[in-house]
């Protein structure tokens, strides 16, 4: 939101004045989250129940894991639309390994390695050949899922070892699921990576001005390659969780998730044009989307109405700060 239309505005490369604006963004989003939470509690007697809220977290934890890496990628000015297809391919690879007798540790390694390989493939095409990431990843979106369809057709892989179900169905303590803990840990890791390390500052610098960053001695291609690798890695991890949760693999797994992940990132205040955004914003956005879908679900609101609501929320949250700026210069 700090981009082209307001050229005099300085994005938060270092803790610049922009930090205040971004903070207000998160405050706004948090207010929305709290409002939704309260509205849900009033609207449905079933909302305030620990197990139900725990179940609700599954609506967004896997997508949010990818959203963290995607946020960094989008801040750097690139995008990866192949993430859902990476899930499909990683899940298919794990399923194939199960048929050959692989155990839980091997499956985890296979899921992660498949994700990394896909990310590396995207990264090489974008940074090595200098192709636009949106084109490359639209291509690999079809490619990766296409491979799954060729391998599986209308079949499904089943028979995952019982220990494997822990990742998507296990609970660490009481209602706190393994997925939720992983989501929280990854949120902290990505928050630190983006906001407290040199690497994070390089990501902002590249997003604001890639040429300038290169002249400042930042290895732009290498940073971007690492970001694609991270996005692939997170997709692999999400594939492990989702496959474990579903207990089976079909080539249509996670269909359409790339747009939900991007929606989450943009709702979190990350500029789609690159250069600004925060991890706390994305975390709150994940909760907002999770709470909205679950709350409306409890009221048995049809899914299409939910989509409309999410769309309006996205437009509203993005438009509000800009309107604010206009009215109070």
């Amino acid at each position: 939101m700090t981009d082209a239309a307001s050229p005099r505005h300085v994005p938060n490369r270092l803790q610049s004045p922009a930090a205040r604006l971004l903070k207000s963004w998160e405050v706004l989003l948090l207010a929305v989250a709290v409002a939704i939470f309260i509205a849900n509690s009033l609207a449905s007697p079933y909302f305030l129940n620990a197990w139900n809220l725990s179940d609700a977290t599954f609506n967004f934890t896997e997508k949010a894991m990818i959203a963290f890496a995607m946020a960094l990628l989008i801040i750097s000015g690139e995008i990866d639309l192949s993430v859902a297809s990476i899930i499909a391919l990683a899940s298919t690879a794990m399923g194939a390994a199960v048929q050959m007798g692989a155990g839980t540790p091997e499956l985890v390694v296979i899921g992660i390695v498949t994700g990394l390989l896909c990310g590396a493939f995207n990264g090489v095409l974008v940074t090595g050949l200098g192709l636009p990431s949106i084109v490359v990843t639209i291509g690999t979106m079809s490619l990766f899922r296409g491979i799954s369809y060729i391998v599986l057709g209308d079949q499904a892989y089943r028979g995952y070892p019982s220990g494997f179900s822990y990742f998507g169905q296990g609970y660490v303590w009481w209602v706190i699921s393994f997925e939720f803990v992983l989501f929280a840990v990854l949120a902290v890791i990505y928050g630190v990576l983006l906001h407290k390390t040199n690497f994070g500052r390089m990501v902002y610098a590249i997003g604001n001005n890639a040429t300038g960053a290169a002249f400042s001695g930042i290895k732009v291609a290498r940073v971007k390659f690492i970001l694609f690798l991270l996005t692939g890695l997170m997709s692999g991890i999400a594939a492990i969780c989702l496959t474990s949760r579903l207990g089976s693999t079909r080539p249509s797994i996670a269909f359409g998730w790339e747009l939900e992940v991007v929606t989450m990132v943009v709702l979190g205040g990350v500029s789609i044009l690159g250069g600004s955004g925060t991890i706390p914003g994305v975390v709150i956005a994940a909760f907002v989307m999770g709470l909205v879908t679950f709350g409306l679900g409890l009221l048995n609101v049809p899914g299409i109405v939910m989509s409309i609501f999410i769309g309006l929320l996205l437009i509203g949250v993005i438009a509000l700060p800009r309107l604010w700026q206009k009215w109070r210069p």
Binding site: L48, A156, A184, L246
Partner: protein
């Protein structure tokens, strides 16, 4: 993160206080959730009508008609999670995926909810019984018979199915292939997939007519595909040359029957199906019946359902619609 953690921690705390109250306000009505593959599909709207009919007959039943926006397993899992949260009494689901729904449905059963599948089934460990609208063998035979009856001298037919992963369609096509020997001279030249999307089905049907100029019939065992195929035949000016048949809804197919693009098609009655699903869910949820191999369960005006060793039962034979009865049924569903 600290903010969100506090938010969630607070929620959990509040939940503990409210949990008792939430459980106490159980309602008198038996709440049966009819979960469909996706909302906005005529077939399922008709099934919901049938379920409401059963509810009216049974008296103290509330039907919750719900489903995801897209035909995805992940979407259905989210819907089922919210139904578990509402502590409904029964879930009757037409599944987008045989296996992927099993863990969440197991969770539902663990929490005391009756789970049955209907139309498109769930693996046995994820439900108490499965209600088939008809038997797969009968449907497989019916779709090829409808095409063959119009082709006494034999000919080329092609299949326009839903998605490559659609449990229903794949089973029927498999059963159809088993009885192809009974229809000498009929050759299946291709199977294409329209993904149950009107525009893609239309393109695939048009493609079939271009690839196989001598094509005599398109069999679409999906209510979306058959309408799109009929329109494609009309638009290509091939009415009379290519007969569209398969499974469709009378209301959507009335035009195709009138134009001659389709001579006949079959479908069970989705109203009966929704009625039976709701009735069965009620019988199980109120412990009036118990599911198990060989069990016979009351379905009201549809008679009784007999379960096989897999816990599956067939409701009735598919019904053929043509120019003689389309007028009567097109206003029903």
């Amino acid at each position: 993160m600290s903010i969100t953690r506090r938010l969630f921690g607070g929620a959990a705390l509040a939940a503990m206080m409210v949990a008792g109250g939430g459980a106490a306000q159980a309602q008198d009505n038996v709440r049966i959730a009819l979960v469909v593959k996706a909302l906005g599909i005529g077939f399922f709207e008709a099934a919901a009508k049938g379920a409401e009919e059963a509810a009216a007959e049974l008296g103290n039943v509330e039907i919750i008609y719900t489903g995801p926006t897209d035909t995805t397993a992940e979407g259905q899992i989210e819907v089922i999670n919210s139904l578990i949260a509402q502590q409904v009494d029964a879930i009757a689901v037409s599944a987008n995926d045989t296996d992927a729904l099993v863990p969440v449905l197991k969770k539902a059963m663990d929490r005391g909810i009756t789970v049955i599948s209907w139309d498109s089934g769930v693996a046995p460990e994820g439900r108490e019984l499965h209600l088939n609208p008809s038997s797969n063998a009968l449907i497989g035979n019916m779709i090829i018979k409808l095409a063959a009856d119009e082709l006494p001298d034999g000919g080329q037919v092609a299949l326009l199915s839903a998605t490559t992963t659609s449990t229903n369609q794949n089973t029927w096509i498999e059963e159809m292939n088993k009885v192809m020997g009974d229809y000498p001279g009929i050759e299946v030249v291709a199977t294409v997939y329209g993904d149950d999307l009107a525009d893609k089905s239309y393109r695939e049907a048009t493609g079939l007519m271009q690839t196989y100029p001598d094509l005599d019939a398109i069999i679409a065992p999906t209510s979306v595909g058959i309408v799109a195929a009929a329109r494609a035949v009309e638009d290509a000016g091939k009415v009379g040359e290519v007969n569209v048949t398969g499974l469709g809804l009378p209301s959507e197919m009335a035009g195709a029957i009138e134009s001659g693009a389709s001579k006949s098609f079959a479908i069970w009655n989705p109203i009966d199906l929704g009625y039976s699903a709701a009735y069965l869910a009620y019988e199980l949820a109120t412990d009036a019946a118990e599911a198990g191999p060989g069990a016979e369960i009351n379905m009201g005006r549809m008679g009784t359902l007999t379960l096989d060793d897999n816990g599956e039962g067939a409701m009735a034979d598919p019904f053929v619609y043509d120019a003689s009865n389309i007028e009567e049924f097109k206003s029903i569903f």
